[in-house]
Amino acid sequence: MWNAYRCQKWVAKGLLPAAILMLAGQSLGAGVTKSQLSRLDPATESTSVLLETSKELLKNDQIDEALPFLEEVLLRLEGDAEKKARQTLAFTLYQLAYCQMKLGEYVSAARNFARFADEFPEDAQQEAARVMAAQCLTMVQQWPMVEEQSALVLKNPRLPEELKVSATQLMAEACYQQEKWKEATRPLVSLFRIAKTDTVRAGAAVMLVTCYVRLDDFSNLFQFLPHCDAAARHDVGLNVALLEAGDSHYNKGEFQKALLLYRLVLTKKELIAHYEERILTLKGQMKPFVAGGTMTLSEFKEKQLKQQQLFDRLKRHYEVITNFQDYDMDVMLRTAQCYNDLERNWPAHAIYRRIYDENPDSELADQACFAAFAVMLDEREWALATAEGYDYVQNRRDGEFLDDVTLNLMQVHMQQEQFEPAYEIATKALELSPDHKYIDQITYLMGYIRFMQFSYADALVSFREILKRWPESRYYESAEYWQSMSLLFLGEFAQATTAFQAYLSNPKYEERFYAEDATYRLGVAQYGAEQYEASEGTLRGFVDTYPESRLLSEAYAMLGDLRGAEGDMEVALDFYSFARDKAQNMSQVNYPTFQSADVLMRLKRYGDVISMLADYLGKWDDQADFANAANWQGKAYKARDEYVHSLRAYFDLVDQYGNDAVLGGVDLILNEVISDYQSEEWSAYREEIRDRLDARLQGASASNQRTLELRYQTVFATILEGDERQPFVDAVVRSKNVPLSGANTLVLIAREGVKREDWAMVHEASERFTSNFPISNNMLYIMLANLDALIKEGSYDEALDLSETILLKFGYSKSVGWARKRRGDVYRLQKKYELALEAYNEVLAVREWRGDLTPEALYCSGVCKMELGETEEAFAYFQRIYVLYEDYVEWVAPAYAKSIECLEILGGHEADIVNTYKEMLANEKVAATPEGIEAAKKYAELVPAEKAL
């Protein structure tokens, strides 16, 4: 860029006119013709003639012809010390240098200008001559000499301003061209301050910025830039210098510096706007001459010339800029890349997004759209990344990165365990791009997803497809392993055995990534295929080959199971012991521990069970499965007929862990106590249980262990009835106790809360239970209580949602039927009778739910039919209740009442009504119900007393 300006910048406008004037003052007047010249021989003419001729020739700009005359004069006067001769020598030398310069003989010109300056230090033109020498040297790029001559000129502190500007320019460029960045900065700063024209200032700014950038002197760079005026700041060269410097740093991986430089680059749009404004302003200032104004014609012409020159220059710059390639988006893209490389992904994202939004059809749009997605992936902003990814899929069907986006989207979903959306986008990916770049990986992941979703058959299809279609895929080995796993989990043990064996012997793999895992699984598959001997052989081989395996403990435990099944109990116990020793997590500790307990129980070694579990509890403390340990200890004590010891073991563990509300195991132990209390087998110990329970409760209260206290109170509320129970219920069922309560206590609070119609407390207990005990056996009960509360408080939509959740979570278990019946109730209460009927029909249709719920569902269906005006159908529902479910008095009585109501509505059934009353009242239990008493009254009104009697 610099070269484009250099020539015009370094023409010393102040000096050339001065030299011309000097010559003009010494001229003789007329020109010298060719014939005159032909008659003159410089070698023979007198010195005075030579001088006169030279002056005449110079005056007429006959420079070429003047040279031999000047050279001859120089020759003759050299060595003459006489003053006048010296003056003539000085004049001649200067003119000779000037002519040589004009003729493009820069080396000679420079030498003679320098000689002039050296030999005539007192001459007024001495410094100008040096500047001219330096200028000539720039033409032949003798930069060290330019620097030397400029330095000599700049030694003079009283240098005229114009010479100072020129010398500073020369010095700056000489240093700059020699890449003496540090030395160049001083004259450049000076030049930037003293330059009289925008062009020179801009040139200085460009070089200065380059120097600072090359020196890595960002401090001075950032101090300098704000002081650049608009003209310099908008110079194309300066902006290109910043851009190139940015690129240079970027390519060196210095992203921070690159970013700072890119950010400084003004956009093409900004540059164009700046030049358009300046050109327009200048045009406005260029007005025609007005006679009699403040300016003379010559002043006007001088001003007009300057304005025209500026206008032309601005126009040239403007054209350069407009013809310049559009770099705005490029700079934005590079800036965004720097932010991304610096892991500052948010601004990167904002830029990429804007590039795409504002230029959706540009060449860079596709890259920007993909990058907007990718940076949000880097930032682990899954929601935004997903949105960007789907936007790409939606809008850039032909995009270069479509395959990358779909694969990444799939992986993002998988990372968040959103397996179904992951599968959907994978399906879409293959639909949009049948030759997907990552088709094998996508297929593999689809299989993996299905495996994680327990859809082993579908998973198997995907893994087999990979094995069939892409034998060279990097996912081939994984597919073979997971194919075997799918077969194993499908229960196809024989096939799984074959598959694992095939994998383990496949010569395709140099290093078998899944060898360890596959060997263990082979043993499991063989076990499943009832190839016990082979299984034992595989597992023994496994423990020998992989003594450090994370599955070692599990292999030992399985060997224990194999030996135990063969009745080889002692060996089994040894394997379980190894399994415990090699355990790497609590699951690997617990399984062999409780298997050992089982074996020891079978061997009637109750003492060993008790001591082993005591060791286990002592060793693992709060990590231990203390509820299971308590269970086995209890069993062992009970087997030794030491029930009181088992009670002590239970309560000791409850006391130890029971004040921690989130430990669900405590409730399991207390459930064991409740179960014992309620069983016939241990009925002799009821008083003992109550006494000990009471003592523990007192202890908990005394030590202010509120959660433990609530737990014991909950047990009392469960095992007692009536007046004995009530104080415990009252003590427990309080809103303030919710945050302190364990699982059983929360269930009690929720259930009693429903009775007390304290819906807020029910919701609170339910919420706490759901978050603290997500896999508790009591979950269904607390959800049912919550459902009841929602219905009763009128939160029907939430109730319906909960009912669906219950069905999804618990399937068709007995208690779920009740939730589904309540779903019908919700619709009924909302007067959506058709939907209610559907819900009740669902209850009536599921075999598992038949029983208590059936008459209730029939009754409710009848009510709905009545509301729909379908009275005959309603009657049929009520009739089915007292015909088929007569034991359910609570539904039979209202069913009778409703069927009479139906008959009344239908009309003409008086005899049927009387008969129905009779039938109803004939059932003593029904007659005693409120409906029965009401029916008796109505019947008496309907039938004369004597007839009734």
């Binding site: 700063v189 401090s219 704000p226 002081h227 830029i351």
Partner: protein
């Protein structure tokens, strides 16, 4: 590079030569005629002649245009954006300060007061900010009042009065018309104070991405970016941003802040 230093020297000379405020005010009356005074002599609701006792009602004045000998709007802009805000504030205080009380009249003081407000805010002169906001409000130019309101929001945020800041910000109908990066910055600050660092980051990102040559808001936005990273528990990113502050704003409060953030993030302020 000593350009800054030389400008400072020039300003120092200007300050020492001019001992007291100097201005000329071109007063235009309702009939369109105008006159220039060198001293605005206003008592009550009347403007008195510089000599004699002649006066006219202020309601007769349609415009007063001040011209100050030592300060102009381009100079204000230059000083503000080259970072010499202390000089700007003292200059405005010296020249504009004595007539600022007349902002309630139809004057051209509003633009000067806005520069004064900006300088005072960034120089940490909270009392001055409060006073200048009052003067700007008296001027009753909606665009200037909006600017003043946004700086008032900034002040309230600095004082930890987030709710008040939010309320004032919401009262400005189009904050973007004052300054897009400023509006983004305020929203970023409010989001951060409101416990939503991700939203805050989205506002900051837009400043960094699209207003990277805004000499007023880029540096504070960069500091805010670093603070957000700190709050998000990403000290390495905060450190990277701190490095930028130290490189790009040498010798300013922003590089000092950068060093402080770097120290907080890594325990090392660097060289």
């Amino acid at each position: 590079m000593r350009l800054t230093a030389s400008i400072l020297v020039v300003l120092a000379l200007v300050s020492s030569v001019v001992a007291q405020s100097e201005y000329a005010a071109k007063v235009t009356v309702n009939n369109g005629s105008s006159f220039v005074v060198k001293n605005l002599n206003i008592k009550g609701d009347r403007l008195y002649a510089e000599t004699g006792s002649a006066s006219s009602s202020l309601s007769m004045i349609s415009e007063i245009e001040f011209r100050f000998s030592g300060v102009s709007l381009p100079l204000c802009e230059k000083l503000f954006y080259t970072g010499d805000r202390k000089s700007l504030e003292s200059m405005l205080e010296q020249y504009v300060g004595p007539v600022a009380q007349y902002s309630y009249l139809p004057t051209n003081l509003g633009d000067y007061l806005v520069w004064m407000l900006k300088a005072q805010y960034w120089n940490g002169n909270a009392a001055g900010v409060g006073k200048t906001i009052g003067l700007i409000r008296a001027e009753k130019s909606q665009s200037h009042v909006d600017v003043a309101s946004l700086y008032f929001v900034m002040l309230l945020i600095d004082q930890g009065k987030t709710e008040d800041a939010k309320r004032v910000f919401e009262s400005v109908s189009q904050p973007e018309s004052v300054s897009v990066p400023m509006a983004e910055y305020i929203q970023g600050k409010l989001a951060l104070e409101g416990g939503d660092p991700r939203l805050a980051m989205q506002h900051v990102a837009r400043i960094l991405a699209f207003h990277s040559r805004d000499a007023e808001w880029l540096a504070p936005a960069t500091v805010l970016e670093a603070r957000i990273y700190q709050q998000l528990g990403q000290p390495q990113k905060a450190e990277a941003v701190a490095n930028e502050l130290m490189i790009a704003y040498p010798g300013t409060q922003w590089s000092t802040l950068g060093a402080q953030i770097k120290k907080e993030s890594t325990g090392n302020a660097g060289g």
